[in-house]
Amino acid sequence: MPAHCKATRDGALRMRLSVDEAAQRALQERYDRQLRLWGERGQCQLQRARMLVVGASAIGAELLKSVVLSGIGHCTVADAARVRPEDVGSNFLVSEADVGLWRAEVVCEALREMNAAVSVEAVVGEPAQLLERVGAASIATYSLVAVARQPRSLVQQVADVCWEHDVPLVVLQSHGLVGYVTLVVREHIVMDVAGSGSAVPLASLQLARPFTEVVQFCRDHYWPLEQLDDDAHAHVPWLALLVLAVEDEPQPSVETVLRRLERWRRHNSEPNFTEALLMAKRVLRGASDPPMLLTLERCRSRPVEAVARALRTLQAKRGLPVSRAIPEMHCDTASFVGLQEVYRQRAAEDVAALREVLAADAETATGGACVDDPLLQAICDNLYNMACMRTGPYRPESGCGAGKRRADDFEGEDGAASWLVLMHAYDAIREKHRAPLEDATVLEAALQRVLQQFDLAKVHIRPARIQETLRAAAVELHPVAAVVGAIGAQEALKVLTQCFVPIDGTVVYDGYACRATVLSNPPE
């Protein structure tokens, strides 16, 4: 059963499962290694996610294997093929006894065995009816759609539906030793660009304008500094030193603060002052709005946009929300625990204040969109680690950026774009004739048509790459399909957990050179 999320009293997200405690501990332990990457919030999102994968050959199966092991909520596997003998030599999830059966059904059976907690469902049928059987309208109900090694017309059809309904799309292909993964997102909010366990962003301590409670705490415990004995003086936390140095300055300049700290310092070996001088430069030079506040305000996601506007109001009233945690620093236990508590309390009050602002103009601000507590808490926690990204819509040439790309993408050592157009050219032929192509002139003619269609007619493609494309004959070589499938899975996981930054276009993997290059597909 997929878990559902609920905020606990301290605001931390916990997985509440409709099973007993022991089972919950087992789940925690099963996913322990990845929880260290994307945290409970990410895992929770993943367990609620529904994914549609069209295509169950080796590359689709390898993508599915990674997302199912990671504990996604549900997968629908749609595939028009029955297991052929060549699948047995490339797709690890089918075996000899399965030849003749529907490939999607065989793959689903293997996935169920791999992780019983994931619900999987197969959709099968002749190619022409496949999309109909999935139900074009139902595509909107998925959190993400992946299309693996499918005819170009079907890819475009699925892509158009996904774009219309705002569903993220991953397209995968592999040809011999090369392959690619394309990600299309109309708008994607990254909650945490750096992942769980990364350092507390200094800006989230709000030290340029310290809040009342932290000023009070520092005055009570450390002021006046002259009255402290040498040992205590050398153990005042750097955070408190900065608070004291800026608190009565409306617009503290780095220079004033540094001069003050130098004046207070008793001798050069006080490690807390060394830290404070270093931090003053980092904290005060970077003092500005969270970089994402502006972007969030222009977000299409109604709840996020509403929270962004409420944050502006809050900023004017009492300042932006502070971090719940403080970074490790040189000081004694009581100082650290005390400061930590001041921040924890203030952070909780900030969230409550933000909730009030939102409630005050719920109708106008959110347009009725519901902003739930976990989302509110997550935004406050990640104010300085959020990002918003967008790509252009899917087109086969996505990433080749007609006329805009450097010639290097085609002609240089790397040649990512040339591999991409060669794969498209070969696929265009392959969709008509199944037998491997032996005639270079046919491929070159198809290549010219693709280049023209992509508005890239003047581009030069190295003959060696054309010959290798002919040699590989678009075969699905298992280890390459596995590498590309894994990259596709990783991009899907990044989107679903909202952790880490996905690619903003197409990544081309070149197994000859062991290189991958991202070709961006910016929005218009």
Binding site: R30, R36, V475, P479, A486, Q490, E491, Y512, V518
Partner: protein
């Protein structure tokens, strides 16, 4: 239809046709000899049956390699199942190598997999000599150094004692991952940069927290856990006899409970069982997709080495998926003075004249080229300190607090310094290393940090 005839059609297509990117020794497989080689002769050893090992085994079997061996001393636990796809819940507690071999053979009946549920260092050079390629999916630097040194030592030289005999070179394909990052590399022992040549590319393991922080000013939950394991455990009844076993759930629970008590005493929150495990085992984050990517990239390199289908990686591929996707190859140089594959000169270490044997042990543990964590030190065949066996450890432990200058014979004397030639051995360095320890006047010497340690010209 004959299933087998078309089963390998993808591979056959590439092996049956040449192209500009094929390796220089590639010949189109007109007589099926390359196929025969992969399917019946080529013996591949997979070291480690964890996340990388599972992926390597699977991808090698799907390339048609059918003479596989796998070594792993570990057993399966629940936290493996989010990525080690050859294992299921009922397999918990069983040998990783054995379960992986059985699971793979069930899926790919034509593939023969022999499992070795042992520590890799207990296997003989003769065992390693039987393989055409060795693929490593290990999580410890120490084990990789050992394997690398063993494969280098198997290379025999021609009459001139200089030129390696290529028929004795066993390539090592090595993969490693952490979180969303990883790397894959190809080592041709004595022909290309070996693991030891590039040891400095691997970060030193995080250093422990200073003892004074743990003892008097703990601030983080990690400090409380470290205190419980490093200070309280050795004082406890069981801890007096044996070091903490981080794989014993009872002992982990004990540390967890002591850490909670300490955290409560200091008003520190956040000590959890998971965090305790993480701190004690140095747990690194891991996800299925990264391991699949690196494991399969390694399998592809084995395929290139075995068939010349394309030129193998020279020699390192870096991968990072945290921000976009970054995959980039780069070439390392062999080090002529590499301690394993070169002609190493004694490593010069400068210490103050008052330095004790214990100080020296700390220096060799922290040195980026040595990282000797269980070192033994010998001077003129006289043991100064032996980490094993226990009887010798017992006998030599008394030397630790003594000054080096008081324990050593003087080989040479300069005006202001004393120099001694010592031999260092460590489980991670099968060949050991000569050290030239220089003791200097107190005012001339810096504390022995990395930048004061210089290499012999």
């Amino acid at each position: 239809m004959d299933t087998l005839a078309v089963k390998w059609s993808a591979m056959d297509r590439l092996l049956g046709h040449s192209g500009p990117f094929a390796g220089s020794d590639f010949v189109t497989d007109d007589d099926d000899s390359v196929k025969q080689f992969i399917r019946y002769e080529c013996r591949v050893l997979v070291v480690g049956a964890g996340a990388l090992g599972c992926e390597m085994l699977k991808s090698l079997a799907m390339c048609g390699f059918s003479q596989l061996h796998v070594v792993d001393v570990d057993t399966i636990d629940l936290s493996n199942l989010n990525r080690q796809f050859l294992f299921r819940e009922p397999d918990m507690g069983q040998s990783k190598a054995e379960v992986a071999a059985r699971a793979l053979q069930r899926r790919v009946p034509s593939c023969r997999v022999q499992a070795h549920h042992v520590d890799l260092t207990t296997l003989t050079p003769e065992f390693y000599r039987q393989f055409h390629v060795v693929v490593a999916g290990l999580d410890s630097i120490e084990a990789r150094r050992w394997l690398n040194a063993t494969l280098v030592s198997l290379v025999q030289c021609e009459h001139d004692a200089e030129t390696p005999d290529p028929s004795t070179v066993i390539p090592m394909v090595d993969g490693g991952t952490e979180g969303l990052a990883g790397q894959a590399r190809v080592i041709l022992p004595r022909l290309s940069a070996c693991f030891e040549c590039t040891l400095s590319l691997f970060p030193m393991e995080a250093r422990a927290f200073p003892l004074c922080t743990l003892a008097s000013t703990p601030r983080l939950p990690e400090h409380c856990i470290e205190y419980a394991s490093a200070v309280l455990w050795p004082q406890s009844e069981r801890g007096r006899d044996a070091p903490l076993d981080v794989h014993d759930p009872g002992q982990v629970q004990w540390v967890y409970e002591r850490a909670v008590e300490r955290a409560e005493a200091f008003g520190i929150g956040g000590v959890t069982y998971a965090l305790t495990l993480g701190v004690l085992r140095g747990v690194v984050p891991a996800v299925a997709s990264t391991n699949a990517m690196i494991g399969s990239a390694c399998a592809l390199e084995v395929l290139k080495l075995a068939t010349h289908l394309a030129r193998p990686l020279n020699d390192w591929m870096a991968y990072n998926g945290a921000h976009g996707v970054y995959v980039y190859p780069f070439a390392n140089e062999r080090r002529p003075d590499c301690a394993v594959c070169g002609r190493p000169a004694p490593l010069r270490l400068r210490l103050p004249r008052s330095a004790t044997l214990n100080d020296l042990l700390e220096v060799v543990a922290a040195h980026a080229e040595l990282r000797a964590r269980r070192p033994s030190i010998v001077s003129d065949s006289r043991p100064l300190y032996m980490a094993t066996p226990p009887a010798l450890q017992e006998a030599t432990r008394v030397n630790l607090p003594k000054r080096l200058a008081d324990q050593l014979q003087l080989p040479s004397r300069a005006a202001d310094r004393l120099e001694y030639l010592l031999s260092l051995t460590d489980p991670s360095m099968p060949l050991g290393r000569q050290l030239l320890v220089v003791l200097e006047e107190a005012d001339a010497a810096q504390p022995a940090t990395d930048d004061t340690v210089e290499r012999e010209a």
